[in-house]
Amino acid sequence: MTIPAVRICDLVFAWPGGPSVLEIDRFEMAAGEAVFLAGASGSGKSTLLGLIAGITPCREGEICVLGTRMDPDRPARRDALRAAQLGIVFQLFNLVPYLSPLENVLLPLRFSAERAARLKQDGTDPHTEARRLLDALGLDAGSLTRRVTALSVGQQQRVAAARALIGRPGLVIADEPTSALDQDARDAFLSLLTTECRKSGAALLFVSHDRTLAERFDRQIELADINRARQAA
């Protein structure tokens, strides 16, 4: 039996002083599985991602990522686990403005020795792998050293995807990564992202309100279906 990429048990979460936003009894993603999570805005999607990423501590219930618990009382451990096993792509402004695209891709390796070690295991080095990923994601070599602000949004998202994937993390979380892209760019980005995740064996948790994208994934889930919390208006 393989270790699930994400396992959530009896999660209850409320922001301080508010009603509970999330109540999830059970949610699991298999290793390497690509899951489409749909939900309206304000449905608690981003909160859930923050909990899975270990940025927000989960006080009630349990979240495990690749078999390791996101321990609410060990923030440093959560940070280390995130650095080693998670790649995150946001909707917009994914890149550190003062680093080149290439340096942005290499960024996770600065924070996780484990990730850098995996590159070595695979018989490659950071720069080669970064260039390979960027190339696979369709970025021409000329864009690699330009200022990130000079890149189009589509190019920026590809750099972010390459950064999420470098060093083969077990889980990639994408939070509405295509909603700032036009139709063509969105389709291209989506197929590149799913393909590269599959190749590297990373599970992909793709969150969007755009249900037309859902069919490209192994499984589609409505957040409302697994979340028992009554949503506030």
């Binding site: 923050g50 650095a83 402004f93 924070f111």
Partner: protein, 419 residues
């Protein structure tokens, strides 16, 4: 890890060109000011200490040591009383005395004090590290009505060799009683020393006597008659103001000092210049401390620019911090990043400030040395290293406040996008 955070910090700073450059500039200016003040301060101190050297004792009429030092060496203040010529001769011929330089004060030329002395002055007066006086032009005075000018006197009054000047009675800036009928020829101009010698007008003791013939009452001779000077040999002074004494052996100094201080024939004070100099410095050193404090405050003010530079960008950088967190940065990495930025700003300002100050000193050192006798030359030393360390460290400490805020923001923001 920290090395890569440092490169992150540098790239982040490089990305914010102008505001970072301005912050560095303010630190650069503050550091330069501080180093300049420090250099001048130590230079002044060194020059003060080197006003007179190799003179073992200064003898004057009984009075305070500082007062005696002031009028005999610094040409400041008023002599209390004179020393009889007999007493001078007694001291000059004392067994332990190697040499003496008599000094007679009381006249001036356009605010510069006239020093009546002998050839021994040029031979035995030493300043700095036992440097003797040197003539830039001409020669020492030979006879009466010849004058040797200090470097500043010649420069300020634009005097040259062969010119004639008159002396005034009294030592005020404005004198009403001129020694009329006595024109002094400029026969020599001394090289700059950076000591009060530069501001002195030197004539022979006989000249002093000659111009005062008929002035015994303290006023110009009645009827404006000018007494023609007679044979210089007959112009032996009755009294002088002070004596510089060189002792044959250092171990005799204290004994001779006691002898002079307890001399029954006349009430005298003998002081050791080094001791009196440090007593005097204690008096004027308070101003020096204030000087230093002010320049330190300027550095503090200059460094608060770091706070502004880092705090101003914090809100715009929340997004960047969220990205860093998402890629695995711990909150303490965010904290360290900001601290490193602050320390780098401070260090850059300090290094550039030190370099520019050094270049500045090198450029003006020659001019200042000849004009003011201050030694500004010399490469970076302990002071510069301390400044670099202190500025960098306090920069890092100042960065703690914005760094703490950035860390707190990053924790509160999590992954959510806030713009």
């Amino acid at each position: 890890m920290s090395a890569s955070l440092l490169t992150l910090a540098w790239k982040s700073l490089a990305n914010r060109g102008v505001s970072v450059a301005l912050t560095i500039l303010s630190i650069v200016l503050a550091v330069m000011l501080f180093l300049g003040v420090e250099k001048i301060r130590t230079g002044v101190r060194a020059s003060f200490d080197s006003t007179i050297s190799d003179t073992d004792l200064i003898v004057g009429a009984r009075g305070g040591a500082i007062n005696l030092l002031l009028y005999s060496v610094f040409r400041l203040g008023d002599p209390t009383a004179n020393i009889g010529w007999d007493t001078y001769q007694l001291i000059a011929s004392a067994p332990d005395v190697d040499w003496t330089v008599p000094i007679s004060l009381g006249d001036s030329h356009r605010g510069y004090r006239v020093v009546g002395t002998t050839q021994a002055y040029f031979e035995h007066y030493r300043y700095g590290r036992s440097q003797p006086l040197a003539l830039a032009e001409g020669r020492a005075f030979d006879t009466t009505h010849e004058v040797v000018l200090g470097a500043e006197v010649a420069r300020q009054l634009d005097y040259g060799l062969g010119g004639f000047i008159r002396l005034s009675h009294g030592i005020g800036d404005i004198s009403f009683a001129e020694h009329a009928g006595h024109d002094f020829e400029i026969v020599g101009i001394l090289a700059p020393t950076g000591t009060p010698v530069d501001r002195s007008v030197h004539v022979s003791l006989e000249s002093i006597e000659a111009i005062h013939v008929g002035w015994e009452s303290g006023a110009p001779p009645s009827g404006g008659a000018v007494h023609e000077t007679s044979d210089p040999d007959t112009l032996e002074p009755d009294s002088i103001t002070a004596i510089l004494v060189g002792v044959s052996s250092p171990i005799r100094v204290l004994g001779l000092q006691r002898q002079i201080n307890t001399y029954q024939g006349e009430a005298l004070s003998a002081i050791m210049p080094g001791v009196a100099l440090s007593q005097l410095w204690q008096v004027i050193g308070a101003g020096e401390t204030a000087f230093k404090a002010i320049s330190l405050l300027v550095v503090v003010v200059g460094m608060t620019g770091i706070l502004t530079a880092l705090s101003a960008g914090l809100n715009e950088r929340r997004r960047e911090m969220a990205v860093l967190r998402a890629t695995g940065a711990r909150p303490r990495d965010i904290f360290a990043l900001l601290i490193l930025e602050a320390a780098s700003l401070a260090a850059a300002g300090a290094v550039i400030g030190i370099l520019l100050a050094q270049i500045g000193f090198a450029i003006i050192a020659r001019g200042v040395a000849t004009r003011y006798g201050l030694d500004l030359a010399g490469g970076p030393g302990v002071t510069e290293i301390l400044v670099l360390g202190a500025v960098t460290l306090s920069g890092a400490l100042l960065g703690a406040w914005p760094a703490w805020r950035a860390q707190r923001n990053a924790l509160a923001d999590g992954l959510s996008i806030r713009l």
